[in-house]
Amino acid sequence: MNTATKKKFSKDDILVFFLKNRSLLLVLIFSILLSLSTSTFLTGNNLMSLARQISANCIIGVGYTLLLASDSVDLSAGYMMCMIGIISGLLSQIEGMPFLAILLICIVVGAACGSWNAFIANKFKLPPFLVTLAMQQIFKGTLMLLSNGSPIGNLNPGIIFMGQGYIGPIPFPVILMVCFIAVGAVIFSRTQFGRDVIAIGGNPEAARVSGIGVAKTRILVSALLGVTIAVTALVSCGRVASAQTTLGGDTVMDIIAAVVIGGTPMGGGSGTVVGTLFGCLVIGLISNGLNLLRVSSFWQMVSKGVIILVAVILDVYSEKIYERMRNKD
């Protein structure tokens, strides 16, 4: 940027920009703190592993952003992911099963489970919270039945590649993450479907009266979430080269925290996919930083909770400052 355009920005403009993109500000603060307090943070290796760490949550985060923006919620995402992981493990055991078939089956299962959640909630007019609370148990039980309670190794090489592969110097999960973010952002802000989602989150009655198919859109949103869950399941299993039965326990809470910190409100009606990327980065930086600082894993849990709490409070607070500043001009 040259100095001529720089001069146009006042201090207020910069403040407004960061208030609008609060999660980006948090990312910068954390990064600066970590690069000052550790010598290992700002190394290519660490940054790449950070990107890989957040890639799984970020892919689901894209689907979850749409879901939260439509004023819905899904508690079953973690166990759904785990179950799909187990399914991919079982399919890997079948002789001659091509990777593409496994991928396709997993995606179809994800989409079906997601649609099922939304379908039941719509059909019986139940809050998605309760439906997915129950479904979470069903998924958990199913995955235990399928796996007999023990992890499955010997995965298809394609799955391993999804978790551990590289294209050039860049890990494959990171490439996947970037693709999902890009496609998600375009769907969200540039298509009719994205607009429908925000409208439904803002006022479902008004949306319906304006000719938007509310039930249809909600089911589609959940199906898309299911697809992102399926892809993430393969990435996560591939990374450890085995389908674990304990995968995804904390996933839902981390993702909700990331999406909300990213700027999509719990009540729906607006949202940002790119913000979710920054939200995931914030969560990732917390784990990464605490690891680098050699904080014990139990303390890590506590401090992670505290930091998320502070981040959310800051979020609400800066929203108010932003409103006040807009009010002034």
Partner: protein, 506 residues
Amino acid sequence: MKLLEAKGINKRFYSTCALSDVDFDLEEGEVLALAGENGAGKSTMMNVLLGIHRPDEGAMTLAGRPYAPKGPHDALQQGISMIHQELRLVPSMTVADNVWIGRVKNFSSGGIYFPERCVEASRKLFEEYGIELNPKERVANLSVAQMQMVEIARAVSYDSKIVIMDEPTSALSDKEVEVLYKIIRRLSAAGKSIIFISHKLEEVFEIADRVTIFRDGRKISTQRVADITMTDLINGIAGREVKDLYPKLDVPRGEKVLEVRGISKAGTFSDISFDVHAGEIVGFCGLVGAGRTEIMNGIYGIDPIDSGEVLLEGRPALSRTPRQALDHGIAMVTEDRLRRGVIVKMNVKLNMTLAYFYKICRGTFIDRRRETRDASDMIKTLRVKTAGPEMPIWSLSGGNQQKVMVGRALLTRPKVLILDEPTRGVDVGAKSEIYQYCNQLAKEGMAIILISSDLPEVMGMSDRLLVVREGRIVGRHSRGEATAEQLMAEMFGLSSTTQNTEGSSK
């Protein structure tokens, strides 16, 4: 004696001036009406009185002492309560609980709440003011008018020195309006002051002692109601001569566009038949709850009908969802703007293009340039007062939000436009603008259905009038062939033989 006095109040939002240098006073025991267009500053002034907004400049006194409320709760404790235009009730609680909300302590002993005491207190209050409500009924089961009465009862229950009523009659039928008038007269006789905001100017003359007119954030005048005429009042509000409130044009009647044949829905309406031609405005009158809105919801697919036929240009056009109706070319501006209309979190542009943007998608992508252009054009056409299409919808006044809703329907390029109470809570100027635009649309060949509880309005605007009572059409009249008294008699079911003055069209 002056009970409340405000001097030199200034208030700005963003870059617009909401109140500039307003002096305002209220005497003890009087009914003061506030008149003015939407966005003239009435609501802002009331929000200042309630402490929702802090004025940028100016000072107030209440009963001679300085008054600077910190918020509605503080205002309430200093003796000012308000009936809000939008209902603020908890549907899952009883009438009594809603009336006495936040005051559970009054009905508790040793921390235990005794609901029956609360019910008893409500019963006494209702009796005193002639309100017909069952205190034990759940609010969710009430009609909108009854909910409004709960709001009124709540405001009265605080025994405040000043009661502010913001459009209290907009959801009430004539019978309940009478009850409200009685309540107001009682309060005033007991030395309480009332600030009464209404767009129905007849009500100002009916109930108020004085009237204060606001325009563009300024106070224009305060006069005794006895000293002025309706024309004075209208001209004061509009700031210009409004010659004809209902500027109906005579438009030649075109082809039959919409034909409704014997549609019914169990428990709400039965055997409704009518048709609407191009260039025609067909008005529906009836009491609140007579079934007018339900019939339109049936045609528009919000609550699908049980039986009967709907034809559009001779082809079947039965709609089971609003989307189907829009695809057929039927658009509707719904009555309940907050629940079924605006999306508060979206800006003006997105609210306006909500119903039509699926028509301008190139493939799966929204044609955003065209969307912005169409929205801006519509803002200009309807003269929506806003700083720009990107402004949040809540920054607009009620009348301008309503224009956005009309714009949303019109952007779908409908053949039939259904307007359900399009001017409720809308000021004289915007009303007249909306109607002039309706005329324009009719001239261009649109078929329009108009529902309004404002009798002079629907009589003035419609080519034909249909009267609905208890889910049936009980009267059909051509323009100018029925008097207001006749229509009222039909609406209330007073005349034993319903007349049919509709001429040649049958």
